[in-house]
Symmetry: C2
Amino acid sequence: MAVTQIAVMGFGVVGSGTVELFYQNKDVIEKRCGRELDIKYILDLRDFPGSPFQDKFTKNFDDILNDPEIKVVAEVMGGKTFAYDYTKRLLSKGVSVVTSNKELVATHGAELLKIAKANNCNYLFEASVGGGIPIIRPLHQCLAANRFSRIAGILNGTTNYILTKMIYDQRSFDQALAQAQQLGYAEKDPSADVDGHDATRKLCILGSLAFGKHIYPEYVHCSGIREITLDDVEYAESAGYAIKLIGLIENTETGIVATVCPRLVSVNNPLSSVNDVYNAIMVTGDAVGDCLFYGRGAGKFPTASAVVGDIIDAAKHEGRDIISLNWEESEGRDFIRPYKTAEVSIYARIRTENQDADSLKSEITNLFGYVDFIPRKQRSQHELAFITPTMVESEIDERLKKLTEDCKLMKKIRLL
Amino acid sequence: MAVTQIAVMGFGVVGSGTVELFYQNKDVIEKRCGRELDIKYILDLRDFPGSPFQDKFTKNFDDILNDPEIKVVAEVMGGKTFAYDYTKRLLSKGVSVVTSNKELVATHGAELLKIAKANNCNYLFEASVGGGIPIIRPLHQCLAANRFSRIAGILNGTTNYILTKMIYDQRSFDQALAQAQQLGYAEKDPSADVDGHDATRKLCILGSLAFGKHIYPEYVHCSGIREITLDDVEYAESAGYAIKLIGLIENTETGIVATVCPRLVSVNNPLSSVNDVYNAIMVTGDAVGDCLFYGRGAGKFPTASAVVGDIIDAAKHEGRDIISLNWEESEGRDFIRPYKTAEVSIYARIRTENQDADSLKSEITNLFGYVDFIPRKQRSQHELAFITPTMVESEIDERLKKLTEDCKLMKKIRLL
């Protein structure tokens, strides 16, 4: 049988991991694929003198596009400009593309899936969410008999590392971020991680697959973890919660709501004990109930594991599209309901200027009918934290506004 | 496009769940499958007067076998005799079979996969392990780029429920078993569950997929949870462990070792907090690291979720075998190494007749070089529990035998 030839576009962390893993495990990979495979090209504009893959490097995309031997291409360049153009041109020629590029999938997934389908090839992106954790294929194949009601996930390892350090080592956000940067878990400009944009892209991909219509990042409410303080972490702990950055998409009675924000997660929820750089995704379906997927959400070889897994699948299914068919383009806003219309329970921390905060307890209780006041050791007389009952979020906001003038709302965090 | 016709063999818990789920979610199922599907036959020897599926029942297997419209059959009868015969005859005709029958897959998987491959159809069994938890497909597709070093799982919900009641509610084994029987979690004859046979079959399926050769149940060391006492549970807890029934298959330097037995699981291991009837499987691969899959391991609709997921996949891939190709028959014993040659750490509880057990501490320490003695409140003077260092198990046994005559080994439990 002819050898199936592969190209890898981008030789950064994931790209080099993909090539190294491929040759390291070539024997088991070919056995499981049922055919011989080889990497013919590696596309990168940089030079890699001394690399053992010297003979494979090219700086010219056309070498790949115009080589009829190439059946599968791994796009691990990242970014949107070139990756988008190259992916479209490859799929249009019937060449399957597998990718770890969450930005591209979250932005143009529906369009690229359509092109793949029209050309009997596959666009696969297991590596785009949760690194090596199998989640895309389980969601659209194994769980395909379910109507999904909810996906809740810890989708970003950097922020989870920072929050873990805050919870267990009492580091401030700034200290924990600095530590994450030292260890290479966070970038110099950490915004994509700590402000929630990375998690938002991943949530869009999961939500689009689960609900069958493209969910665009701009319609997802997104807030990061910069404002979380050790005070909040400690209050949450005394009430039996851990603070986690949660990507949440829910099919409520009146529509779909999608948010990425810090949330108080009960210690009884398995997501609360997912620590360090680990990711975990909880999927709820009407037949299966709750299913959790847990593992390393990033890193060279975990991500390469997913990329090579997709390469194997694409090679096996050459000439036939296998991806699920029901992720359609959507008109955005119509499909996603404003998040403040969803029911939620809120953790609030307030501060008073003059009076003892405890003197507000009956006022607050009256506002909400019932609240859980959180006890905390060495609490300032001027501070009070509580958890509201579950109600529509905009209604909670209205009631919080009615607090006396002397009382300032310092923090508001949603519960999961 | 013609409707793909399906038959369901067996209308027990899983069979009725499969049919009900199929009609309940037919719209999303067909959308995700990309084609129309229908159930034409339900095979069962019993009558189901008043069932809404009246027109589909048949007592004659030949109706299914000889109907050229039938492309996919769900075998959810259980047992080995008829299920084995029917499955072979269907696959031989090129009809794909999906199943929840772990006994059949664990016993005849290699042979049935070979027949499917020879006839361009599929034999799928996502439902045979972990109920609705996606684990089979993730293992052989998503993680196909990995060399696996280890799979450790809580594979049986009944025993996990019993152990959870023992740990959290201080019930004895007998009390917890009675409660599980009352709730319908355990059968009247609970042997298949509590003695570890059910978990063993599931471990064989996972191990065969991961290591590419059939692992037969008779070569797996299997012991159940009947001997676990509240004393052991309490000692384990004070040392930072929970006792769980663990199916474990490891690729050690000198070969593969497979066991199903109670083990002490560190509270730092996510498996330790998997409670009640939930299952969880931790897969370790060289690229991906540790991945955990968690959910309901049994039950009507969770299991039906996996069966219908496989039906969708089989229908999508009609006429092409998609299952991984590398699960071959094996000669059994050659492939699996005797478990006592593996390195392990052991929890031991001893009892003395006459002397104070503490007086044996230096003798025990000398035997092993170093041991962790477990403190426990209200411990009898005549009892002592400790954890050995990691060494070859047969060597640990030898050393334990050397304990003075006055000292009786009451319990020995492996650590994970």
